[in-house]
């Protein structure tokens, strides 16, 4: 489902809670939202994971640039 050495759920959680340090530690720089398409497909609670990751990336872009 997720081919990288990354925990998709923990990363999404960090993105939802705007936890920048957490996202960096969990490897947000290695992913693009599209990587989460499969996760989004199987998600039982129908969370828009790609959207959450996009928001997280945007937040980092705003804060760090």
């Amino acid at each position: 489902m997720f081919p990288f050495d990354i925990f998709p759920m923990q990363l999404t959680k960090a993105a939802i809670t705007d936890d920048i340090d957490g996202m960096e530690n969990l490897g947000i720089y290695e992913v693009a939202p599209e990587d989460f398409a499969l996760c989004e497909y199987v998600c039982t609670t129908k969370i828009n994971i790609q959207d959450k990751i996009r928001t997280g990336l945007d937040l980092i872009a705003d804060e760090c640039m």
């Binding site: 759920m9 199987v42 998600c43 828009n48 790609q50």
Partner: protein, 400 residues
Amino acid sequence: MKFLENIVHKMEPKFAKGGKLEKWHPIFESFATLAFTPAHVTSKGTHIRDGVDLKRTMIMVIVAMIPCLLFGIYNTGHWEMVAAAGDRSLDFWSNGGEKFLLGLAVVLPLIIVSYGVGLTIEFIFGMKNGHSLHEGFLVSGMLIPLIMPADVPLWMVGVATAFAVIIGKEIFGGTGMNILNVALLTRAFLFFAYPTSMSGDKVWMAGTENTAVDGFTGSTALGDLASFMSEKPVFENLAEYTNNYSFMDSLMGYIPGSIGETSVIAILIGALILIATGIGSLRIMASFTIGGYLMGLMLNGIGGNDFLMLPAHFHLVIGGFAFGAVFMATDPVTASQTATGKILYGLIGGMLAILIRVLNPAYPEGVMLAILFMNVMAPIIDHYVVQSNIKRRLKRLKTT
């Protein structure tokens, strides 16, 4: 079907915001989405979604529990007959229909009470907080009757269910937020609050008190085993125990015990359904079993008394071990969530279960306590797994 769907759609505006029955919207939505596909449309991201959602997941688990339930009902009926006759050697498969009805009379009220109390509380909280009914209780409500002794008074089940749903779940924010497995919490509450109704040799068969024969006890395999630790064991030695409860009997479930836990075969059918549909975690089930087996072997190595010397594979088929491994430990909310974490969680849980069971005669049902303990530990396990991932990443970044 189309006709029903039309009715539901016609009713919808009444429940929508500003409608007449706005307050009841959560309940309406719960039933509507239970029966029909929800009308949500994706707005972004992947536009094809898997058909599974929380409700369908939960219903699959209930389907997986049906073999246990059916066997449990039959078994309850069988032991009620045994208790009435006071004769343990009664043939298991004769008088099938009558036994099933007897069992049904015991189990059905339990199911009704557990669902009735639990769902009422869920609905109240749902209406107050304006969310739809939390699906989690669909499974818990079925698990609760399956882990009760046949003779437990109904009002106790009601009280315990209310306690577990409010204190164990709603306080933390409902389904998905709970720390402890709700069904196990119900059982633990009963176990500590009303020990005389949850353990000992009176409760496992409905109607033991009215037995026709003096000196007949309704003790379980585990209870008899635990008595090896006491002054006067039920059996002289292990050989006599295995004569009474052979491995095959325990595997098939022809032994007294909580309603749904006795038949390992029925549980395995459920496990296959869970694994095939990808709902239950094979990692947890397997590592839990291996953990228990290893602990059994280890205790064999230590030896000392007949309980410690019980062959390790017996541990896997008596008591609630199999049921706990398949239906309790795998609860996705309270178990570890990372792959490595799940294996650790299962291993430690299985070992603890057998350790408590063997070394503490007061708590023969160590599986319940072990799983509850591991529920509490699961976030810590996850934390370390995630930390190790983070460390690995930092190292990789440094070298490149």
